[in-house]
Symmetry: C2
Subunit: 698 residues, 2 copies
Amino acid sequence: MGHRLEPFFSPAGVVLVGATGDSAKLGYGVARNLAQGRFGGAVHYVNPAGGELFGRPVHRSLATVPDPVDLAVLLVPAAAVPDSLRACGERGIGSVVVESGGFRESGPEGSLLEDRCTTIARRFGIRMLGPNCMGTMDTHTGLDTTFLQPPGPVPGEVAFISHSGAICAAVIDWAAGRGFGISRLASLGNQADVTETEVLSVVAGDPHTRVVTLYLEGVADGRRLVEIASRIDKPVIALKVGRSAAGGRAVTSHTGALAGRGAAYSAAFRRAGIIEARTVEEMFDWAQALAWAPLPAGPGIAVLTNAGGPGVAAADALEAAGVGLAEISDQTRSRLAGMLPAAASLANPIDMLASASPERFAGCLAVLLDDPGVDGVLVVFPPPPMFPAEDVAGALVPVVDSSSKPVLVTLMGERSVGRAAAVLRAARIPDYPFPERAAGAFTTLAGRAGRRVRAVAAPLEGLKAGRVREILARARPGEWLPSGAVAEILTAYGIAVPAWRPADGVEAAVAAAERIGYPVALKVDSADLPHKSDVGGVRLGLADPGAVRAAYPALVGAVEAALPKARVRGVQVQAMADPGQDVILGSTSDPQFGPLVMFGSGGIEVEGLEDVGFALAPLTDADVGYLLESTWAGRRLTGYRSLPAADRGMVEQVLVRLAQLACDHPGIAEVEVNPLRVYAPGRGAVAVDARIKVTEAA
Amino acid sequence: MGHRLEPFFSPAGVVLVGATGDSAKLGYGVARNLAQGRFGGAVHYVNPAGGELFGRPVHRSLATVPDPVDLAVLLVPAAAVPDSLRACGERGIGSVVVESGGFRESGPEGSLLEDRCTTIARRFGIRMLGPNCMGTMDTHTGLDTTFLQPPGPVPGEVAFISHSGAICAAVIDWAAGRGFGISRLASLGNQADVTETEVLSVVAGDPHTRVVTLYLEGVADGRRLVEIASRIDKPVIALKVGRSAAGGRAVTSHTGALAGRGAAYSAAFRRAGIIEARTVEEMFDWAQALAWAPLPAGPGIAVLTNAGGPGVAAADALEAAGVGLAEISDQTRSRLAGMLPAAASLANPIDMLASASPERFAGCLAVLLDDPGVDGVLVVFPPPPMFPAEDVAGALVPVVDSSSKPVLVTLMGERSVGRAAAVLRAARIPDYPFPERAAGAFTTLAGRAGRRVRAVAAPLEGLKAGRVREILARARPGEWLPSGAVAEILTAYGIAVPAWRPADGVEAAVAAAERIGYPVALKVDSADLPHKSDVGGVRLGLADPGAVRAAYPALVGAVEAALPKARVRGVQVQAMADPGQDVILGSTSDPQFGPLVMFGSGGIEVEGLEDVGFALAPLTDADVGYLLESTWAGRRLTGYRSLPAADRGMVEQVLVRLAQLACDHPGIAEVEVNPLRVYAPGRGAVAVDARIKVTEAA
C-alpha cells in the first residue's frame, strides 16, 4: 500500500493541473510553492491555455508532460475533475491530490460527482487524496503541494495529519512560534479514497518523522485505525474534535447514554497506544517533548528553580498529573548545600533563590542528574534579575547534552526570553512558557516510558456461541429480549444468573417460587421496559406464597398504570441474591469502533455518579486493568476499610466474557448487567439483573 | 487604611535609600527605573557616599531630603534596614518598601531581624511592604520602584499582586506578548506588615484598574481576605500555588482527609466572589476578557468560523465548560443563508467556509449579534487562504464596537497573524490563539454575569449554645466525644438523632433496647475509635433480647481483638433508622479560613467516590445551593428515576445548623455526620451516626 502513497510526499515528478498566473487563484499558489520551494524533483504545469509560468512551460494537456511524473495535483473546477482524473490514469499517474472543492461537502450533487471520481480512480488504480483538501508537504524532500502563503514550516521531526484543511496554516505558524519543525503535513479533505489511517501508516514510516500528530474530526474505519496505529512504534498524538456533538442516536441503556460522550474514541486511542490530547496546544507541547527529549527511566522528577512560587506550581502540576516528585538523596542534598546559600530550599522543588547565576543553574542541574533517584529534571526560571536569561540557557545546554535523562525547561516570559528560547531550541531542549504546560509534557514522557503493548487474549473456549445464535435468529430486530433469553445467553457465555423461572399468572408464580425456594423476586418481563424498576416492575424479598400472591397483581397493575401500552410477557420469578458488592457492566456498539464495554458503579445511580470506564471489545489485560483501576467500583473490589474484598478475579472473567459475547454476535446491540453482584474472593459473581437489545434491522 | 497604602503607587515624592551607580547592584536598577520612567513626582536618592546619579544629587542622609517625600524604598544590607526604617520614621515617611533580602526567608536570625523591623515600623506608624520584595509599579502615575529591566509594562487595566517576586518580570513580559496593559503591580515579599488583603483593597480602589489578579502562595488572614474581597465590585482572579503540598496535619476524619487538597481556598474564593484560575495562562486569558469585553446578558453563545474543525472544537469547549450554544433563530438562519454559499453550515457553529471574505465575516457577525437569542459571539479563524488576516480583523472591529454584546476572537496562528492581533487589540477585542482558551474566557464572562452576591443568613435562633459550651468545657482537648455527648450537641442545634441510651453491660443493653423498642443497633463508644465499623464495633438490626445478648460480647470482643488499647466506654443502644437517602456532612477547621463544611455522598466510601463539596461556615444560600447542586448526593435528593425524592429542605437546615455549630464553638475541631439519613419530603432527616472531635490544646 505504502508504495502508492509515498509519492504524496516524495514523488519523482509532480504535475499541477490547473496552474495559472492569476495570483487571485489557488492554482497560482500551488504553482508558486512547487516552483519556489526546495523540491528537487521534476515540476510540471498543465493548463489548456498553455504559456509559461515560473520559468517553466505550461503544457496544454497531461499527455505531453514528460517523465518522470508520479504525482498529480488537481486544482480545476469540480465538474472538470473526473476528466482530469481519467487523464491522469491514462498518463499512468498513480497518485493524485484533488484540492478542488464542490464535492460531498457541498450537497447531494457534489456527492454524486465525488462518487464518479472515486469510480474513475478505482478503475485506473489511482490513489486519490481529497477532494476538497489543502494538499501535502514534506520538508525533507521539499515538496509543497499546498497553496498556503510562504514561508512554509522549517524541516523537523513532527508530522501533522488533519481532517481540517483550514487549521494547517495555523499549525505551521504555531510550530514556527514554538520553535520546532514539521516533517510531513497532510490535509485529508473528504477522504473519498485515501483515509487518515493510510496516511498515518505512510507518514509513520518516514525516517525523518519522530512523532505523528492527528487532528481528527471523525474516523472512516475505527477498527482499522486501531489496528494500524497499534503497530506503529513512534508516538502518535491525536486530538478528536466534535466529541460533545457525538450524540444523536437514540440511546436506551445507561451504557449507551454514557458512551455517547466520546468514550469510544478514548477507548480506541488507549487500545491503539495513541496519546490523546484535549487541545491543539497540548498536542504540540507534547509532540515537542517526545521529539526532542529522551524518555525517563522512572517516575521521579526533580524541579530546579530560582523562583519559589513557580517551582511550587510546577510541583503541584506534576503531582496533579500523577507524576511523582523525586526523593532527593542525602548525598545530593549535601552537594547542593555546598553550592547554594543557606536560605535556598533543598527539598524538591529545589529553590536556588533569585540570585542564582548561570553557573549555579548548571552546577545544580548536573548534581541532580547525577542522583540515581532523579529520572528527569524540570528547570523553571523566570528571567533572573541579575543575569541575561540566555546565559542561563547557554549554561544548561552542555549539562543536558551530556545526560541521558530528560530535561524540560519552563522559560517564563515572552519578549525578554526570546534569545534564551532560541539557545534551548537550537540544542533541542523543549521549553514551555508556563510550569503547568511543562508538567503536562513531562507526564506524557513518563506515560510513554511506562507504556506496555499487550495483545488481546485468545478467544475463550467452551462458550456456547451456537446457542446464542439460535436465540438471536428467533428475535425481532430492535427488541429487548425476554428475560429467559437473556438468562440463557449469559449462561451460554459462562456468566452466572440467579435461579429463575418464568410465570404467566399468580399461581404459576407461586409454583415457581416454591421450586426456587424463598425469598424470591418478581420482575415484569416486557420488551418495552428496559428500566423495569422505574415503573414499579420489580418486587423484591417475597418470603412466602402470600407475599407472592399479593405482589403479583400489584406489580402488573403498577406497570399497566405507568405504561398502558407496554406488552407484558408475564413475570420472571427469581431467587433473591445474597448481599455483596454491586457493579455495572455493559456493552454497546459504536458506529466507528464496534463493540465497546463499560464497567463501573451500578444501580440506578450509574448516570449520576459517572464512575465508569470504557474499553474496546475484545479486552486486553491492560483494558481489564484500566477498567478496574480507573473506577471506584473496581478499586473497592480489593476491599476498603470495613468493606470486605470481593471476587475481583471473577469480575475480570465476566468482563472478558461479556466483551467476547458482544464481539461474537453482531446481532446484539446492547447488553447491560446491572447489577453484577460480586461475592467474597472465590465465591464468584451473579448477574442479578440484565437486559439485551437486538440490533435494529439494517 | 487606604491613605497610607496609596503612596506605594502614587506618592507625591519617593526616596531610594541605597541608590548606587554600580550597575551590578539592585539599587542601581531602582534608581534607573525611578529616574527614567514617567513618574511625575519628586525622586530623591540617599547613599552615605553622596555624589550624583541620573542627574540628581545623592543625599548623604534622609534628613536632608526635601519635601515632598511620602514613600521610601530601601535597598540596603539587611542589617542596616532597622536603622534606615527608624530614619524614615524620624523623617516622617509613612510608607516604606523594603526590597532587601536576608530576613525570615533566610533562617532564624533573619526572622529576629524582621521582627525588629516590624517593631520599629509599628512604633513610627510606618506601613512596610516587604521585606524581600520586588517593589511596586503604577503605569498611570509612572511609578516603578522595582529593579526589573526595562521596558516595563504598558499602561492598562489589569492589576497584578503577587507573593512571588520572581514571577513579576515574566508577568510583565506575558502581558506585553498578549497585548494588554498593566495598571498596578505589587510584589508582597515576606508580608511582615502589609498583607495581600490590604494591597488588594487599595489596588481595587484604583480607577484605572478594572480587573485584579492575585498570585498567592499562602494567605495571612483568610477570613479577612474573604471579607475584603467580598466587598470589591471589580473582578478579582486568584491563582493559589502549593495546593498539593497543603497537607501535613494529621487528619482523622473523612472531612479532614478530603479537605486537605485546597478545598478551603476554593471555598473561600467562591464565598468571596474571587474567580479561581488553575494556571497563570488562564488568569491572564480571563483578565483580558473581563477588562475589555462587556458581560453577556445570557448563556447563548454563537460560534462564527471559516473553518469547520476549529469551530467544532470551540463548541466542544463551550459545552464542556457548561456555557450553552445559542439556538440560532429561523430568521437569522435565513439572513445568513442569503450571505453564504450553499455548502456553509447555518447551525451553531456557523461555518462560512474557507472562502469567507472580510465583508462576509463582518456581515455574518452583525446578523448574529442582531439575534436576541445570541448573547455573545466567538469568532474563530485561522488565516484565510485568500485574504490577509488583518483585513478580517479590521472588518470585525466596527461591528464589535457597535454592539453591547461580548465578542471574543480566536485568531489561530502566531507569526502570520501578528498584524491582525494588533488590529484587534487596538480596538480592545480580546484574542486567543486556541478555541479552547477563548471558550474558557467566555465561560468566565458568563460566570461573572451570573454571579449573585449573597449575604450569610442571620444566625439561627433557639439553638442551645450554652449546653454545648458546658459539654465542651468538660471534654479533654483533642478527644473524640462520647456518643452521648455527640447526640446531645446535635440535639442542642436541632439536628435529630435516633432514640438512644448508653449501656455498660449486656443486661443494661437489653434493658435499654426494651425501652427504645426493637430492632436496635449496638455501637461501641470509645474515644479512640473514630471509625467504629472498621473494627467490628457496630451491630445492626438486633430484633430481640437474644440478639442483643449475643451481639454485645461479640462486639466487645471484636473491638478488643482489633485494638487492644482502645478505651471502651461501653456501648450505645440506638433505634434502627428506617431506610432513606444517605448523605455525609462534616465540618473541619482550616488553619487559614476557619470552619469549613463538607457535604456529599457518604458511607464508608466517601473518600473513594469523592462526590463532595466544601463551603465556608457560616453558609450563605449560595453556598447551600452549591453544595447540593455540585454533588450527586445533593442532586439526587430531588429524586432520580425510581429513587424517590427526599427532604431536601431538611438537608439545607441541617447544613446551616452544622455550620453554625462549627462557627459558634471554636472548641469543636471536627464534626462528621455519616450518614445523615434523609426521609421523604416533610419527613425530616436523622443523624444515624456522628462523631465530634474536641480542639487540641493550644
